[in-house]
């Protein structure tokens, strides 16, 4: 506006090679930011950042953020997205999950505090556990088993939230927390155990679709482009220090309805393989997104069928 070119801002994104992290790298680079992407590649995939090869605005650092961080230079923003995030991944790496959500959160908060950078923590709807309130507003305290197998992720993220708020309150850090509900789209790993990549890859290959429980449990699924838009706003808008914001889609579908959509888009009638429900699996979860609407002017734009079509296209090409 003033005619003076603004110097590019710099964001550090942990979990950069993950599903959400890599889409965030794309988005921040597209907006003219310098991006430092950090990942230890425990569950992230180098191919998610292949499009960054030779891009002068992007730098990759292979590092476990639970180990001491040595990142030089100016930082405006730190996005902490490193963590195994699917039940299959975090149950396979329970201690690494607890480490990145605690020590990794300490290290990235210390880095942000030292550089006077803004901080955004990727939290999760899993902090609500198996909720007794529907939909879940940010003020709901959750219903989580602290000693169950899933607690490695749920309690890891609740701890990360408590720590982030402690830095905000006691150090004055401009920290924000996003609670991410189920999200899907290109770059999910086919083997991460989550239902959408699993249903799509099974349907594409003609193998039976595994259904945990009776398939009537509902989920809300947000397309990744919508989520990234919300995160970008929460990270860049002014005046949101200390805010905790749900992002997700409010459209609730049962797993059986989801299977029907996938099958009709692919054009095959699927075989179903029923499996027992895992321990402490939430039967329903749906975000209350009024705070995101009010603070960010954000609502999801991509209907489930359209998002599924784009995701199926990507899996058909990537597979």
């Amino acid at each position: 506006m003033s005619g003076v070119r603004q110097p590019a801002r710099t964001v550090l994104i942990t979990g950069a090679a993950g599903f959400l992290g890599s889409h965030l790298c794309d988005r921040f680079v597209a907006q003219g930011w310098h991006v430092i992407g950090v990942d230890n590649l425990l569950t992230g995939m180098p191919r998610n950042l292949a499009q960054m090869n030779g891009n002068g605005h992007f730098r990759f650092v292979r590092q476990d953020v639970a180990k001491p961080l040595a990142i030089d230079g100016y930082l405006d923003l730190v996005l902490h997205f490193a963590s195994p995030a699917s039940p299959r991944d975090y149950l396979r790496h329970p201690i690494a999950t607890l480490e990145v959500d605690s020590v990794g959160t300490f290290n990235t908060l210390e880095l942000a505090d030292a550089r006077r950078a803004r901080y955004l923590l990727a939290s999760t709807s899993e902090v609500y556990g198996d909720p007794q309130v529907h939909p879940q507003p940010e003020t709901y305290w959750g219903h989580v088993n602290p000693t169950g197998p899933r607690s490695v992720y749920d309690e890891g993220k609740r701890f990360a939230e408590a720590l982030t708020m402690a830095y905000h309150r006691s150090r004055g850090l401009d920290a924000r927390i996003v609670r991410i509900f189920n999200t899907y789209g290109p770059r999910m790993r086919a083997d991460d155990g989550r239902v959408i990549p699993q249903f799509i890859t099974c349907a594409l290959s003609g193998t039976p679709l595994p259904v945990q429980g009776d398939g009537r449990q509902t989920r809300s699924f947000c397309f990744v482009d919508d989520l990234v838009e919300g995160i970008y706003r929460l990270a860049t808008y002014e005046g949101l220090a200390g805010e905790v914001v749900n992002l997700g889609n409010t459209e609730e579908v049962s797993l059986l309805e989801l299977i029907e959509s996938v099958a009709s888009l692919i054009g095959r009638t699927p075989q179903l393989a029923y499996l027992p429900l895992p321990q402490d699996d939430p039967s329903r979860r749906r975000p209350d997104i009024r705070r995101a609407e009010l603070a960010l002017g954000w609502t999801p734009q991509v209907p489930l069928r359209e998002g599924l079509r784009r995701t199926i296209d990507w899996f058909a090409r990537a597979g």
Copy 2:
């Protein structure tokens, strides 16, 4: 029994200079153990271990257990009791509290795992938060605000529980968790903000007793000797790997009833100074101790009035 003298076993106790830690040091030394007491003296007091001076069965290591631990020699047992534990202390040290409950728990679990020692985590009734179930059994998941000011302790301890269970499940560590309800007795700090030392010291000095809220909120108070007996059993009994056990007194009294008892034992009619209730203060909390009765044969033995008498005697001498 066999006539062969058993070699002394060795226990490492973190938080050794604290209220509970120091009583545990006394108890384990009295039972013939070698005790290594670790404390950074952030909220612990050297005078709590003055009785150990010159005792060949006790060694003190001044160290922050959130920093790498270098402890030589054989260990049979690790008791992780380091943490600020009163609201006044943990609100004054929010980040140090989160650190000792996460990094300190990692470090002590790694130490126990490396030495094939048994592990006991000191957890707290605060993991139940402001409970919606009375009394609270170990199976209750709790009602905790993950982003409130008290979350530095509540979520710190819930994280420590999740981490302890992860080491038990994935490394086969013989780990146990004690959820400690309000406990009182000699060696509490007069300035730690908790009601019993506060009421006693105010009553002894004739200053007004601060009452948060209307004083009708109830608590259950366990005398420290009873608690130490329960912890000793949970730490030393065989076959309890992976157990989570409440320890506390089930006798519920209101703060106003407590004040009456203290006043009548001291023989003074107290002045009361009413204060607002702090954020997220639990209105009731009482342990369900059936698991401790069954697994440990344990019930509290010291009536409140008797425990208060002994505590008042100590404060009268120490003051």
